[in-house]
Amino acid sequence: MALFSNAAVLLGKELRTEYRSRELLTTTVVFILVVVVLFSFTFDPSAGESRRFGPGLLWLSFLFAASLMLQPCFLREQNNDTLSALRLSVRDPFAIFLAKLSANTLFLLLTEVLMLPIFAVLYNVHILAVFPQLVLVLFLGSLGVAIPGTAFSAISAQARMRELMLPLLLLPLLTPVLLASTEATGGLLEEHPGLRVDWLGFLAGFDVVFLTALWLFGEYLLEE
């Protein structure tokens, strides 16, 4: 399929440029670290309290970090008008979105997984036993952030005040992702951890709805 081979080639390009500069990953990791540390001053991070507030603050910091990390996604393509070159080259413009949202999901997931051990130590929660399940929650949640996030990055690149516009467009829309991910993560950090399949299913549903919308409307997002 031309769509997937095109997307794979483009994903390779995204990964290669990020590997060269490591701009996105380093700044995002540091940003989340700062937020997580600052949050610890707002309550007493003992084991019990952390279980109550930890998942929420973790996901809030991920959401804020994502709304910053996704900024350059389409802005970069404007610098040399490379977006036009991509549009002229790919047969299905959805390939551009597929590559970018895969890269963004991957970057988000990487920073989150890097942050987990630090979060666990700072907030006295145990994550080792439930690590694979946590990664599954992180994956579905990050996908939910990255799909509308990538789409809106193409929208905000067209607007003035774009640095503020992207969070304003994205964050209210992500209410369901925040709720579902926080609940699912909370379930795993309990004293008797349990995988919240209902919330995971909900996250998967969210991902499917917006992936379909992006597939249907993606080409219009790239118009000039």
């Binding site: 390009k13 490379t82 036009s84 002229l88 000039e224």
Partner: protein, 234 residues
Amino acid sequence: MTAPAFTPTGIRFENIEKRYGSLYALRRVRLEIRAGESVAFAGRNGSGKTTLLRIAARLVRASSGQLDFLTSGGEPADFATQTGFVAHATMVYDELTAEENLLLFAKLQGIADSSARAAALLDEVGLSERRKSLVRTFSRGMRQRVAIARALLNEPSILLLDEPATGLDPEGITWLANTLRRMRDAGRTILMSLHGESEVSALATRAVRLDAGFVAADTQTGANLHSILTFAGA
């Protein structure tokens, strides 16, 4: 030189209009360009040259009117037309090397032997030695060479060039003129926007002057060609 792997193609603008709000970038543009012609578009900044080229590249959709590609016999073409586009911007990634850029776009376009094609084009634009260098480290002239190489990847039958001589030194302009002459002589159709006369404009077999979105003049004879090109430069 590679053998012509393209079908000579003309292009027809049928009452093309482009509005931005109520501002007309193009107004009732009717032009028929036959396969193999080299057309220079002249006109002030904002006269619609760039918009016309971007519509021909199908990057911008016209507000109204129709765009047709024509066979060498002048019939509407039913085959997928390959256009090559060189814009103001380089349309290549600064963070990738020249070779990586060409490979990326070759693969996206589904070109069979992409590495051979990239190598051949790097050779043609004279960048073989610097192929492993990041485009970021290139001079403006070298970037323009990469941009032109990218536009040639798919063996375009129609070349669309938006002020291709921008940023080129005299040596680069000579090189560009020679490259375009080879393209023209091989039967490719060329549409280019130009500022004033140069070695590049000497290639044109036809000149069109745009004024506020209208076609203000259109000629194929030498003396008038000269006057259209210099008028716009003034």
